[in-house]
Structures are given as C-alpha cells and as structure tokens.
Symmetry: C2
Subunit: 437 residues, 2 copies
C-alpha cells in the first residue's frame, strides 16, 4: 500500500469537496486504488468562515510555509485560484518536491508553459483534470485514451453558466437579462458574471484542451472570444425555425500545421449531439483521425464533480503515474509543436445573418448581390410577411464563407439606404464539427 | 525515449488497423508520447489473405513461438479472438514476461479473473480499452477518471449492430428481419448475427464494465440477457407515442452491497441522452456519488476506432503506466469486492405492457385489477378506437414494480377469456439511470 501525505490549499467550495472525499471515502479509496491519501493540512487565510465539512482542528493552518516545509506532504491541491499568488505557490510547491493538483484554468491558460517547466525542473508533475469541464475526465480522454490520434477538432460547451442562460432563453423565450438574473438566483452565475458570459472562462478551457490535443503552446491572445451578452430571443427563435440551437461553443481546429481557436455564440444543427446538452452541463466533441468523433458530457462545475476529478489526480500522483505521464507526453514534457494560428479573418464557416430592412422592391436583390460580390453563397432565406413596412426582419444563412469577406459584405450592406442599422451575425457549426473549415 | 518491441498476433481487421497506425504514425506517436513502439512481428496462421495494409515481409510470421521466445518483444496485442486459443496464448505471453493488450471481450468476461491472476503472477499487465465500446476511452474513464466515486449505475448501448437495427426500425417502421438484412448488407452485422442480436456481446461488455466499476468479479451467468430478435414495429410506434425510444441497454446497478446486471430491450425516455444515440454508435452513462452522471458516446466498432484504443494501451504499457495501474486498482490487483447479485425476479423497474384484447365491457377493469392485486401501479394507458372488435391493442405503462410480480400478473391476465395470447412486456428506464431501482 502506497501512503502519501496530502495538503489542500484553498478551503473554498472545491477545497471543501476534496476534504470531504478524503475524509469520508479515504478508507474505501485506499482499498480501491492501493493508495492511502492522508490529509495532513487544510490551509486557508480565513479559517473562521463556516464550511460544509468538519475538519479535525489540528489539520487546519493559515500558514502555507508549514506545508512547504513538511517533507511528509507528497501532493498538494491548489484551489486558491487566480494567476498571481496561486502561480507562485504552485512553483514553490514543485520546488519543494511536491506533486501539484489544480483546478486553476486561468493559471494554466496564462502560465501553463512556465508551470510545466517548473514541474520538470523539480522532477514533479502538475495534474489538472478538474480545470476543464469539472467532473468529465476529458483531460484523460484526450491525453491518454485518444493519444493514438491526430486530433483535428475539439468542440466544446465549456461554460455551464452560459449554457444555462442560453437553454433558458431557448426554452422560455426569456430575455438575456432575465435568464442571467435567474442563473444568479440559482447560484449558477456569479454576482459579477463577466468572466462567464464574456466567454473568458471558456477561452481559458479551450486553451488547455487545444494545448493538450494539438500538442502546442497556446497564446491566450490567439483565442478569439465573443460572449453571450446581448443575444436576442428573436435570433434564437429564427434559428430554431431553420433547425438550429444557439450555444456558446469553444472551437479548436488543427489541420496542415495551422490551428484556429475561437469562442463565440454558435448555431448548432439540432441533430448534433452538442445541441442536446442543456442546462449547466458541459460537453466536448473530439475528432481524431483514427477514432472519428467521440463525445463527452457531464457536470461542468460544482463542489463534488470538481472534487471527483481532483481526487482522481491525487491518486494518479500518489501512484506515480502522474510523473510518468508528465515526463512522456510531449506538451507536458516541453516538446510543444510549433503550429501557426489562422487569423480570425481567414476562418471559413457558415453564418446566420439577420438584417432589419424596409419593405421595398429590390431589397433582397441588393443584399444577396452584396453577399455574392464577396463570394458568400446563400444557403437559406427566411422572411415572413411584414408586420411593419419600415422594419422587416430578413434572415439569411450562408454556406461556408471567409470571415473577412463577411465583415466586408456586412459593412457594405449596412450603408445601403434600405437597411436599418447593422446586421446580427452569428456563426454556425457545419455538421458535427468535422470538416467545418 | 522509451523503445518497446511490439507483436500483433491475429492479423484480421482490427490487427490490420493496429499495424497501420504503428507503421503510418509511428514517428509522430514517438514524438507525442515519448515511446517508440517498434513493430517486430505480425503473426497469423493465414498470411496469404489480402489485407488493407502492406507489411514488410520480414515482420510476418505464422509461428507464435517466435514471438514468445523473443525477449525483444515487450508488449503483445492479442486480436485472435475467442476463449480457447486466445486465452491460452495470453497466459503464455504473460508468463514470457510480455505485457498484453487485447480487445477480446469474451475472454475477459469469461476468464478475466484467471487472466488477471496470470498477469500478476508474471508481474505484467493486461490492458483492454478496446474490449468495450471500441474507440470510446470508457475503461480509462471508469478506472482512472472516476475512481474517486462510488459507482452506482452503468447504463450502456454497447452493441452497435443492435442499435443500428433498432434505429432503422424506429425511423422507418421497418420489420426486424428487414432491418437486420440491411445491417448485414452494410457490413454492420455478421452473416451469423446471433452473438449481437441475442445480446451476448453486450452481456460480455457489461460484465467487464461492471467488474471495473463496482470492483467485483462477475459471473457471466449472473448477467440476465434478452436480445432484440422478434421485436415488433408496433411496440416501437406505441412507445414513441408515449415518449419513449427503444434501445438494447446493458444495465448495471450497485447499491447496499448488491448488484443487478441485465441486458434487454428497454424503453428510454426521449429526453434521456441515451435516446439520442443512433446508428452504430455506442454510449455509456455512468453515475457516481461525487460526480453525478457523466456520458460517453462514440464508435463502438470498426478497424480504426478499435485500433485507436489498442495503440493507447500499447503506449500505456510501454510507458510503464499499465503495470502501475494493474498493481494498484483493486479489481485488477486481485482485491475484488464480494457483492451479491439481485435475482432478476427482485428487480424493480418500470414496464411497458401491450395486451391484445377483445372489445368488450370490463376488459380494462379486469387487467388493471390483476395488476393492482400484484402491487403494480398503472402510469399510463393507451387505447385507440378499435379497428377490429376481436383484437384491440391495449398499451399500459407501469410505475416501478417488482419483476416477479409482473410475471405473476401477466400469467394471470393471459388466462383471462378477454385476452388473446401473451402480453408483450418491455422494461422501461426510469429517468436517466439514477434511482431506477
């Protein structure tokens, strides 16, 4: 039986879940995995706040130096969060020859390469299953299960808050603001929801999955991001009429030595498995050259789902598997591939466009003509009998077109006298992720 | 860089896929994983048959003794199949101190404990990601990713042939025989489809998943099995009218030290993720106490999806992770839990019942009365205006009831003079797998 001392640093919601699993399931875990994880420290600057789990007082400390100095701690869980203290702490833990387990997506997305280098320098590992899609073992799927594949596409619903809001808007026709307020009332959205609804959280997670799947270091600035704020129920309803469901997708593609990386609202065909993922769930569709499409769904947040993945990583570290993985897999071991990044203007995808036009002869011809001049081919047109002659919604979906061309065409159309204001432009997923570009 | 000699024994479809990946992607795999897999032998009794991949002639052999004697072979792939020669071969390979990778579900389901013991005795490992759901890394998900959980439910669509046939019957109203013939014409069903349509293949796979997930050795005889032969389009249509989709499900449950294990046609609520899995895909829904539900979908058969999982196992063996896993995880390491098995008659689930009745007063009362006397509560009734007075279909769905009670009630009803012949009885899934029993 392997016995390993564990410290949990950061006693918030997720930290409490980890502590609960270690205390309540420790004996069963030891029997099931051959690894006894002995909780030695629960460390937080605030030890007074009430938690959901009772911890023997002798394990509590507000002094992280005690953890760093204790050679009996083999693995430390970092659940502090953020990219300043937490990153520095992880480096110090590694230097003190402790394996690190973290759920900190921001730290990995922004400082991953430096953290991995610190782990290698110390001969230790960093494990981060919980950093993406909480309870879904998607890191293991891509890193271990699918490693025989050239991964060409990773398409994910990686933010449960956004998926909840969009699901509510789709099902009830609610306004964005009302769906957000409901998500906040249910605890699915933070008081300050900017990181979620702005797409930044999904961006961090895509950077991690793409790094692992494509084997390249990702600059976060190379990941295009557009959030869900301001999306209108009308577009969700029109999309449904032509067979599409609106999701915030994180899309990574890799072909011919070039990646494209983007997070934005996307119309997904109703027949795609991604369209069926509702509420706060997360999902990832991975395409590999040998396996084809595999699809993973599960809880993308929450105390116990996140703790489930952290404890899996703790066992992996205690067993010694984490270090073997870290030394072997190219991206972790410092052998990142050099891949170029396709500029957003060169992306080719499908588009949903909604114009607000006047009810006059020649309107459709002018707009279709402008699209055609920019090499944009119309796939479908939706225009109902007008209710008001001065404001008629005209919905057009396109075949694959170059993003830059679409931008130019929309600029041109916006200046037409028959059009009121700028068009709504929402990208569409073609098929289930394969061959989108 | 780790370098490991590999032998592929059994040069059929799957063996050819493995050979193709090793030959075509060997250099990339070495770079990506830090493990160079050197193909040393491709062994088969028939070397003349045309294959889909060209192998350097010096690698081909029909003499397995050469593989066994070569200390340069670190890992052997068994893709011979069957439970006689293949099981003996795996034991000899292990005794010759080679790690083994296999896709042989029948061998694992019937002789798993003996094979694991042989691996332990030799200080080696057996890996079998490809044995269940081919390309989906479901073994790793349960074994590694979800190991912090007490797994209470595993619910799978584990046979692509059956799922294809049922999908066709649902979509086109085809007869079972016609859908089977179409599956055979497309290469999705064998000329002798008995193992697939009889449920035996899914039974083997459930035994493996339940063994791993619940940590117990499974006697195959304890897994109830009922296939899809003879299912009628009428029942699929009536099921659809009350909101259910028919699937062949493999269902494992574990609670309070007792398991229930069964493979049978099952009506799945249209809102369940399992209902959306169509065609030859496989899917598994796993429920754990910490993570909740996670769901996995992907190709359940085929040359390259199966090879994808076998090569992942080869890398795992070459890295040394496979052996660490094998020594640690209780079920593999010989520390199986002693769990009892609930007899089928004690299962509690929901039922779809179709009676062929006469159009006479008192019919519904007689049937409902008989159900009630056996503690079976009616959830819904579907009876259309009769087309023929001597043969009226009456469809009843029940709340959860004991299987034994349902059998007794159906026996009693069958003897009523107002009923033509035995009822159709199809079990239903309550919810998404949680709390079904």
């Amino acid at each position: 039986m392997i016995t390993t001392g564990v410290a949990v640093i950061g006693f918030g919601t997720v930290g409490a879940g980890v502590v609960r699993l270690l205390l309540e399931d420790g004996a069963r875990l030891a029997e099931a995995t051959g690894c006894r994880l002995v909780l030695k420290y629960v460390c937080d600057i605030d030890l007074k706040r009430k938690r959901s789990v009772a911890v023997p007082p002798e394990l509590l400390t507000d002094n992280v130096e005690r953890v760093l100095a204790d050679k009996g701690v083999g693995v430390a869980v970092e659940t502090v969060g953020g990219t300043t203290f937490a990153v520095d702490l992880m480096k110090r833990l590694l230097a003190a020859r402790k394996d690190v387990v973290t759920a900190n997506k921001a730290a990995l997305a922004k400082c991953g390469a430096a953290l991995f280098a610190a782990a290698r320098a110390a001969g230790r590992s960093i494990s981060f299953e919980a950093s993406v899609a909480a309870g879904i073992p998607i890191i293991r799927a891509i890193r271990d299960g699918l490693l025989a594949n050239r991964i060409s596409a990773i398409t994910g619903i990686l933010n449960g808050t956004c998926n909840y809001i969009l699901t509510q808007m789709s099902c009830t026709g609610a306004l964005y603001e009302d769906a957000l307020a409901e998500a906040q009332a249910k605890g699915y959205a933070e008081a300050d929801p900017a990181l979620d609804v702005g797409g930044e959280d999904a961006r961090h997670k895509l950077a991690i999955l793409a790094g692992l799947g494509f084997g390249a270091n990702i600059n976060l600035e190379d990941v295009y991001v557009e959030g869900i704020a301001g999306l209108q129920p009308a577009d969700i309803a029109y999309g449904a009429q032509v067979g599409y469901v609106l999701k915030l997708l994180a899309i990574g593609r890799c072909a011919g030595g070039a990646m494209s990386l983007r997070v934005h609202p996307t119309f997904v065909p109703a027949g795609s498995p991604l369209a069926t993922v509702s509420g706060v769930n997360n999902a990832v569709l991975v395409t590999g050259h040998a396996v084809g499409d595999t699809f993973y769904v599960g809880p993308g947040a929450g105390e116990m789902p996140t703790a489930s993945s952290i404890v899996a990583d703790l066992v992996d570290a205690a067993m010694g598997r984490a270090r073997v993985t870290f030394e072997s897999i190219a991206w972790l071991a410092g052998r990142a591939r050099a891949l170029s990044v396709l500029p957003m203007s060169d992306i080719r995808t499908r588009y949903y466009l909604r114009f607000d036009v006047l009810d006059k002869p020649g309107v459709l011809g002018s707009i279709a003509g402008a699209l055609g001049r920019h090499d944009i081919s119309v796939a479908s047109v939706l225009q109902h009998e007008p209710a008001r002659p001065d404001s008629v919604p005209l919905v057009i979906t396109t075949h694959r077109a170059r993003e830059g061309n679409v931008a130019h065409a929309l600029d041109e159309i916006r200046r037409l006298p028959i059009v009121n204001g700028p068009a709504v432009r929402i990208r569409m997923l073609a098929g289930n992720g394969e061959g989108e570009e």
